[in-house]
Amino acid sequence: MMHHPSHTITRTITLLILIFNLISCSNNESETIDYKESYKLEGGGNLVNAMVGEPSNLIAMIAGDSASSVIAGNIFNSLIKYDEKLNYAPELAEKWDVSLDQKTITFTLKENLFWADGTPLTSEDVLFTWKLVTDPKTRTPYASDYLLVKEASAPNPKTFVVTYDETYAPAIDTWASLHILPKHILKDEDINNTFFSRNPIGSGYYQLDQWISGQQVTLKANTKSSQGPANIKYLTSRIIPDTSSQFLELTADNIDLMNINPIQHQRVFPARKDLEQKINLYKELGNGYTYLGFNLKKEPFNDINVRRAINYAIDKDEVIKGVLLGLGEPVASPYKPGTRWNNANLSPYPYDPNKALSLLKAAGYQKNQSGLFEKDGKVLGFEILTNQNKQREMTAVLVQRRLKEIGIDVTIRVIEWASFINRFIKTGDFNAVVLGWSLSLDPDQYNIWHSSQQGPGQFNFIGYNNKEVDKLLEDGRKELDPSKRQKIYYKFSEHLLSDSPIVYLYAGYGLSAVNKRVQGIKTPAPPAGIYHNSYDWFIPQSLRRNEMAN
């Protein structure tokens, strides 16, 4: 989840002002290029993108930050991947078979797999990686999924077999996120402290070319790639912490690609014809959502009428317009709209203040002289906590305003992330929170909603407790048949919506701006996003930047 302290909005506004001030004196000499409809595919070139943080290292199981996993994802492979429609597809494994009792998975690796240094990649490497991630000495937060494997073996160089104690449906997904590491290099190394983490040898499309600390990471196409060659020869990721600076670099044509925010997408680009001429904008729904969560163990949120009333009282479209400038969608289940697991029959609670009022009256609340709801002499009011994230702060303000209108007194408190988690979430010392979940592609959400997951540091911190949902979540973990699983999670989503333990606020779009010299990007973005086929992108020779090197 993103929790980078961002002053980007303020900066962007400043940037806007300055751009409008300076637009009159901008005399861009760069000639305008007429982009053709289509270009011939040409390999080579250098794609420069910008990222806000430096990767901590390139071994994903130890890293944990998003910059690391993005770059490591270009260098390493997993056994399985997700295709553009978010279905499982072969990566290192050409196929995988699930045994009849659904407890054993047999992976068969593809022919002729090699590490970038020429050593063959075999099932020994997979077994080694599994041993590494489950080794108690390895400093990884991700071990728990792999510890469920009772037995793992590599009977021959092409076969890798895992057996679970019990059927574990999310297992396939876990093998799509574990990067396979080379045994021949790491077997005598201490994984927690190895040179390899900054000089990896992988099997993916790219290999590390050069890492200048704090400044940039350059990848070079891997000629021995297990997945065939990538078109673009160099991928350079420049580390530019400030997004306004990134934006200036993009406008000056020094970078090709960056993530932008709604203000840039909706206000800056439409006002700048010169930018629209050379830069394409893309949007894709992210795999996460923002919500208002209640502490269900506390008054007044233990009352379902109060929760539903609040849900009816909040105008989600207003929040999407106000916070995301319309670049988001309302959600009614914890799954990405348009994917297999999302129950399209459900719709969010509509904005209906009258219904909210009658629900509150049904819950025994009366309005007092100052227009606030009251029960047994206690005013209905609570504090919303959120972390330093501009979008969440703005969301909280809009929620506060709508609730004030119907007579609920809300205050807002913004807290730094680490304090937020340790002082309030872990201790359960909060009323309501505005937070977000970003989720993996497997529908299993046991950790978030099962009633057993309420301990300190566990993820059901709002204290949701519903026996039927518990049962569904348990069943969902044991069912490998996708259509049966779908039924289970449809039912689960229905319960969640009707119980209203959280108010779904929005799922925001991920927004990217890409220079038009980059060709081959699929639009509109498939469910997996524009980046899923980045290896097919190319930069035609005629559009390449004048690079000093390469």
Partner: protein, 325 residues
Amino acid sequence: MLIGISLISFFIMHLAPGDVTSNESSFNPKASEESRQKLRELYNLDKPVMVQYGLWLKRIVKLDFGRSFSSHQRPVLWEEKDKNGNITKGLIQESLPITLLINLLGIFIIFSISIVLGTASAIKQNTWVDRSITLFVFVGFAIPGFWLALLLMYWTGVANQWLPISGLHSQGYLSLDLFSQTLDLLKHLVLPVFVSSLSGLAGISLYVRNGMLDVLHQDFITTARSKGLSEKKVIFVHALKNAILPLITIVGLSIPGLIGGSVIAESIFAIPGMGKLFYDSVLMRDFPVIMGILTIGSVLTLFGNLLADLGYAWADPRVRKGIIK
């Protein structure tokens, strides 16, 4: 003294809620609480603060600054060689040179410009020259650095392609010869150094101005003038020398500041310096890095004070005599 400083910083640091495990992937449902507890044990974060401080002190007396939690065990201070001869550079080792370079350039520019401006406004006291200099330095002081930085970046980098916008090196930097490399680096440093110096002008130039005015009203200046010395000689030989004496203290006191960078400037200009390193490690609760920077900072502060006193004694015979007595 150092033990006191480090003890206090260590405790204050631990007063802030959370540790490195509550940032790293803390809200990823795939990362379980047991795994995080395991990490806490591996980093000794489950032990009482006093024990952790003892462990830290035991290492630091051997000048071992330890390894960073959050950036994959990179050494905090200096490079280390593993058994295969591969070198992993230290975090401070990589961030410090660039910050030092920017700050030294900045201090040099601040002092040279301030002395000129301060002297000029003292000589022309209460004229339009004096007033416009004062106005200029105060505007420079008050202007928000990040705003000015973005403005200049747009003007010199986007609207006109005079200077690079951010970063330290251009693409393909390593294939250049040494001269072009230096030129490339300097081009990248123009804006950061300019923006960071601008706010420093006000303080120092007013110091010089007031020092100068003080001195100009003293008897020995009147004597010098009555001797028939030229005004130039009076001001530059007799007055200026005395007026800039207090600056020695300021130089001494700014020595610890040399290793500190501005987070905002470094973020905007994408410079991997000390400010960003410290800020990030505080956010990540990366205790070894925080303590490493604080320790070096406090050593430098003590050292700077000593240096200022010595410098004073060297420059001012009155102080020197006092010491000998």
